[in-house]
Amino acid sequence: MEMKRILRLSFGKVGVTRDVDAEIRFHLEMRAEEFEREGLPPAEAMQAARAAFGDVDEIASECRQIRRRRALVLRAADALRDLGQDLRFAVRSLRKSPGYTAAVLISLALGIGANTATFSLVNGVLIRPLPYEDGDRLVHLDQITGDSTPISAGFSPPEIEDYRRLDDSFQGMVEYHSMSFTLLGLERPKRVSTGVVSDNYFDLFGIEPLLGRTFLLGEDEIGADPVLVLSHDFWQREFDGNPGVVGRELEMNDRTHTVVGVLPPVPQYPVENDVYMPVSSCPFRTDVDWAEDRDQRGIDLFARLEESTSLETAREDLSKSTARIQQSHPDLYEVSGLVRSEAVPLRERLVSGARTRLLVLIGITGFLLLIVCANVANLGLARLAGRGREMAIRTALGAWRGRLFRQLLAEGTTLAISGGALAVLLAWATLGLLVSFVARFTTRAAEIRIDSTVLLFTLGVSLATALVLGLLPALPDRARPMDRLRDGGVASQRGGLRTRSTLVVGQLAVSIVLLVGAGLLIRSFVRLQQVDPGFRAENVLAARISLDWSNYREDARVGAFADSLLRRVEALPGVTAAGVGNKVPLSGQGPTRFPLQVEAWPEAVSFNSLPRVDFQAVSRGYLQTIGVPLVHGRLFNRQRPDEEPEEAVVSQTLAERHFGDQEAIGRQICWDWENAVCVHWLDIVGIAGDVRHYGLDSEAPEVVYLPFETTGWRDFRLVARNRWDPTQLADTIHALVHAIDPTQAVVDVRTLASARRESMAAPRITMLLMGVFAVIALVITATGIAGVIAYAVGQRTHELGIRIALGARRETILWLVLRRALILIAIGLGIGVPAALVLSRFLSDMLFQTPPQDPLTLIFVAGLAVVVALAACYVPARRITAIDPMMTLRTE
């Protein structure tokens, strides 16, 4: 210490100059005396000394410079030594209280870990730029049709040409649609989802292929050789990432396609496709029926904004183009009822489904971190109170305040950094689960990883926590060391108790907010589970069979295939019913909406304003197989595949909504129009029960069921009800399909029960996450409350002992302590409940049939909080009954 202080003096800022000057002055004086002794007069002697010395100023400044540099090195070494010492001391002192250290580390790991994990989700999905070149200028274009129910219609090929010609606020416009084709040449016939795109599709996105090339200009023109680009995922799955795949030839739609490239792992919108082909390779897109029909839409357009164009301008331009196109074909657009076009940034499209959930999630974990910080600060205060005497002695012995503070900061930093490291491990371990959760809402989930931004975030949060840990104890630490030595560190603890009580109240309030959130989600989930889906999912297996377009061009062949498959499946032992339909409930498929026209409606009703309802093609056995009851009437009769459908069954909702009290059976609805005039009517022969086809949380759709054989659906679902576990049928169904035609693919084989479970996975995981966070919060808060009460009791043991000795009843004393707890709880509720009322409305998008202000949930949560808090108080408060008044008096 002594040596160091001296060094500090002569190397300090002022010290350097003084030191060098004094040394040189001494030299000159001594030398001058020498000259005087040799006989020079005093004045000249000094001059001679200076002359012998050289340029005094320059030499002095050179010396100062050397010393200053030396001082820097010295100070750095000093600081490093101090830091090392502080950290070593911190580790030593933490190891002496393993309980405290473990409690803090676990809290921090949970709090920071939850935040690291959710931040990595937010970072990957919402913050990071799209992994496309200048991705924020990419927009998705769409046309919206339908007055009453807006439906995204997409574009028809002639419209695409028009827009390309008319619109100049975009640098490029590329088309996209997705189809499912059968790919041959792999182990088994494989049904692949195929993105059908313009030749410059990938160039517009700025996607560089991982292997080979993407499409060349001109490859989307009719007559070009068929080529394929594989998605990264498909390449990994089917080819084990073998780079030799480029150049490989695969059969598709009766043509040989050459694989020319592999994409890097990039998110795809609207869906992930297995492979991509230029439009020239798609047998449907090149067919005149589609290519030249202005009314056949369903194609997506992507465009890149010109550098100088804003989104608003582009939208206006787009609307102008739409208006011009409609004016040039008035009769057509009058009928099809195309209302408007829209341009939405691709980023928006990609993440809109996930945004609310992610923001709620990061909000929740932020709250959790608050609770954790309060808890850790509370633990720190308790520990500091225990060390009050140690600190006082060290202060009295001359350790300066800054030094003690640095000591606490070093402990805080050690804890926070270790906690942060544990947190990263925790986040890393749970990331896979969270990514699969987010993947339900956005294809950007694939980009989520713990990268440098996330680590920086974690470091920042950890350091902030360290500061809290270091600073908080410093706040109430204002007592003079002598006072604290005198009373053993009690005087300063009144302030400590107040700080700790405030922290606990805050914890309780935040816990209530989280509990209310979790409670609402649980209630909503229970409601969802109680929903009657309208079908009986038990023991039903569904399989998707997509007949190859090139081999099943004629509807009759499709009908024959379905018939022969159904006959074989029905003959299986155990199978009680089987059917085919173009979709199964809750499988993620969207509705097929057609206009509904009832024969009794006046002609004046314009085509545009007709309601759109869901048309489904089902075999006669389908409804019975999935357990949908026929409420009235009968099933439609079997028809021949070459006929137009004659009869239909409608869902109950449709019947009630459009026929009201009148009998729907025997009435007619339109099947086919020509120039907005109905040319073919269907007879309603039966009414089926409602089915929640598109999600348990969405209303049962209005459905028209048509005879499957008249519709020629090539991509259909087989359903079979078994007497026992239906999964045992899976292999048999594969075999049966391949016995009829070995080149057809069977996919998505699963039970209806699992489809139902799957449809509830997102709300279930949301509920679980929220529930886990809320429980952690409650447990931490309970320990906090217990800690404060224990502390309060411990502090007053002496006083309480005297009271008992003087005859106070223990119950009275217990009440004295519990009263404090009750006040804390009341304040916590007073803040937490209103806060929960305000904040829970952010959850409303995720709640099913549960109002965000659900009173039952609030009451339950408040009750739970009070019970847990009181239980937490009771344990330490009971120590009062163990106070021995004699002992208390004796220690006096």
């Binding site: 001494f26 030398r31 020498e34 050289g54 005094v56 030499i59 050397i66 540099r69």
Partner: protein
Amino acid sequence: MAGSDLYTGTLDTMILKAVSWGAMHGYGIGRWIRQNSDDALEINEGALYPALHRLEKKGLLSEEWGVTETNRKAKFYKLTAAGRRQLKAEIVRWKKYSQAVTAVLSASSA
């Protein structure tokens, strides 16, 4: 004095040698060098001080303020263990060097 590497290195070595008997202040070191070199080396006395500070920075010397026999405050320099090692090495090197130069210069003929 300043400027030449040979001289700088030489001055350093002479300083180390000067303090090898015991702690000395700057003036004393200067005087010692003057006296022992018979004033043969034309030293700008001031050049001594940057050299002293550099040696201190290298850790070859340590410094301490103290009082002279005449009761004046002065800074004293002392050889550190590293300084002593350095001095020994320098002496050996210098001897070899001067022997070599002497041998070359006193060679009579080929």
